[in-house]
């Protein structure tokens, strides 16, 4: 760390998000425009310079035939060493989100997409490359409201809070470089109860044949995608058991647009009996 500290740091920012205090320092303020819109949603500039996690970003300068690497550090751990600035910023952004997700207080971060429809949230838990961003995009096209693409944030009551970072859709269903899709429709800033949990994975040609999951199965599916269960297992279980009172289905999927419509219909059908009961 001392070797890093000895380098010249020209600029820095400190912010906090969900109780996590983070600092980013750089040798070149030219970094800031690249970070616009990449900080964790809801990050508030911190008045205090004391931080829990400090990132150091060294922008490499090029002169003549000499090119210097851009380097990103989380504390003393090197996250990236690359000539591609976009790649360095991607690594920083990804780590910033993971740091917030890992250390957040009073909320639970689940690796899942989340949209809302008819006042209820649809949770799509899944790891990277499972096709959840594509499905989230298809749900938005079908009229759903965006809440999150990568991390669903759950409060103590098991309700979903918005975490609207720009959606990352890869070039095609099977891979390629990510394309950042700006979020055009900012979510309402309110917690929404979960109406449906869809455990799904893309497979070319697969047909959507949803099978109902028992609450315990749904809880296990969510737990396997929860970011900080090891440090707070009791809290994680308490939150997730509230979430799995919602209906949960599982199936492989093919085309995202067909499945999106089916998921929205499912939420409406789950909601209907309660709405009828309320009107009686």
């Amino acid at each position: 760390m001392r070797r890093l500290d000895r380098l010249g740091w020209a600029a820095g920012i400190a912010f906090s998000n969900y109780g996590v205090r983070i600092g980013v320092r750089t040798n070149d303020p030219a970094l800031w425009p690249h970070l616009a819109g990449r900080l964790p949603p809801g990050a508030a500039e911190s008045a205090s310079p004391v931080v829990d996690v400090l990132y150091s970003v060294i922008l490499g300068t090029s002169s003549g035939t000499t090119r210097r690497y851009h380097m990103v550090y989380d504390g003393i751990s090197q996250l990236a060493r690359t000539l591609d600035l976009a790649e360095a910023v991607d690594a920083l952004e990804s780590s910033l989100h993971l740091t917030v997700a890992s250390h957040a207080e009073n909320v639970l971060f689940v690796h899942a997409g989340a949209v809302t429809w008819a006042g209820r949230a649809i949770l799509i838990p899944g790891r990277s490359m499972s096709g959840k961003s594509t499905l989230v995009s298809a749900l938005l096209e079908a009229g759903a409201r965006y809440y999150s693409d990568e991390y669903a944030v759950l409060d103590r009551h098991g309700r979903v809070l918005p975490y609207p970072r720009a959606i990352h859709v890869r070039g095609g269903e099977n891979g390629g470089r990510r394309i950042r899709v700006p979020v055009l429709d900012p979510p309402e800033h309110r917690a929404v109860p979960v109406g449906l949990i869809a455990v799904t994975r893309f497979r070319a040609g697969a047909v959507w044949r949803p099978q109902t999951l028992a609450p315990a199965e749904a809880l296990l599916a969510l737990l396997s995608n929860t970011v900080q269960p090891r440090s707070q297992p009791r809290d994680a279980l308490a939150v997730l058991r509230r979430v799995v009172t919602a209906r949960a289905v599982k199936s492989e999927r093919g085309d995202a647009r067909d499945v999106a419509r089916a998921l929205l219909d499912e939420v409406e059908s789950c909601r209907a009996p309660r709405a009828r009961a309320a009107s009686l």
Binding site: W9, P29, D74, E87, G175
Partner: protein, 244 residues
């Protein structure tokens, strides 16, 4: 055989007839279906396999053989949910699955099932930045020493007076400051700000030193005003000041 369930370092959630059990020691989560949960709950070290089978039969209203209970015990033991005590632990017994399925079909007994997942670390649960991302994240973020600047709102407020010296790349001092900039410097241990304050800026251990002279408002430490550029001290001997 008097099977005894393990209860230490386990968090148990009951969901309908199923159980979700979190093993805090091994960081594994198990889902026990109704039959497996029923058997696990009755492994008290006093109830025999035959008695558990009889209790299960009474609950379901169908005849249940010992083999169903033994299958449950085998699954529970491989999930480390039974005490590994030689006297009481259930020893795995080879039960032909065909026979069990026959039993299940005849008496509509739900066969015991234990599903186990390894609970992920934060890094495992996260998406990589790109498919070709270079970072090799460690399993858990390592706590790292970070500079410990003063508490919030405790600053010496001043104005940059002069900036001397040029770095090899032509940049004078901290790039965010210019003469006339309002800057905030951490309050000294004495709690009193004195003027002038000299800040040394070095881009690297071998580069030339730049100096900025800040005229600080003397007196007790105060809050940093809006627009004030906060400068933090170096941690190493040759470190430069940096802006927060």
């Amino acid at each position: 055989m008097l099977p005894l369930s393990r209860t230490e370092k386990l968090l148990v959630e009951e969901l309908d007839e199923d159980l979700v059990i979190y093993d805090e020691e091994r960081h594994k989560a198990h889902r026990l279906n109704g039959t497996a949960a029923f058997v696990w709950r009755r492994c008290d070290g006093r109830t025999t396999v035959a008695q558990i089978a009889a209790l299960l039969a009474a609950k379901t209203g169908d005849a249940v053989g010992d083999d169903v209970v033994l299958l449950a015990l085998r699954q529970l033991q491989s999930a480390s949910l039974l005490r590994a005590n030689g006297r009481t632990a259930a020893r795995p017994v080879g039960i032909p699955r065909r026979e069990l399925l026959k039993t299940a079909a005849l008496f509509a007994v739900v066969l015991p099932a234990v599903t186990t997942i390894l609970v992920p670390t934060p890094a495992q649960a996260a998406s990589p930045a790109t498919p070709t991302a270079t970072p090799k994240p460690t399993a858990t973020p390592t706590p790292t020493p970070t500079p410990k600047p003063p508490a919030a709102g405790v600053w010496c407020v001043g104005v940059v007076n002069t900036m001397e010296g040029v770095n090899p790349d032509g940049v004078v001092g901290p790039t965010a400051t210019t003469p006339g900039s309002t800057v905030c410097i951490p309050c000294p241990a004495s709690g009193t700000c004195k003027t002038p304050m000299e800040l040394r800026w070095r881009r690297g251990p071998t580069a030339g030193t730049c100096i900025i002279i800040v005229t600080v408002k003397p007196g007790a430490c105060a809050a940093c005003p809006a627009g004030g550029i906060r400068l933090l001290p170096p941690v190493g001997t040759n470190g430069g000041w940096y802006v927060v």
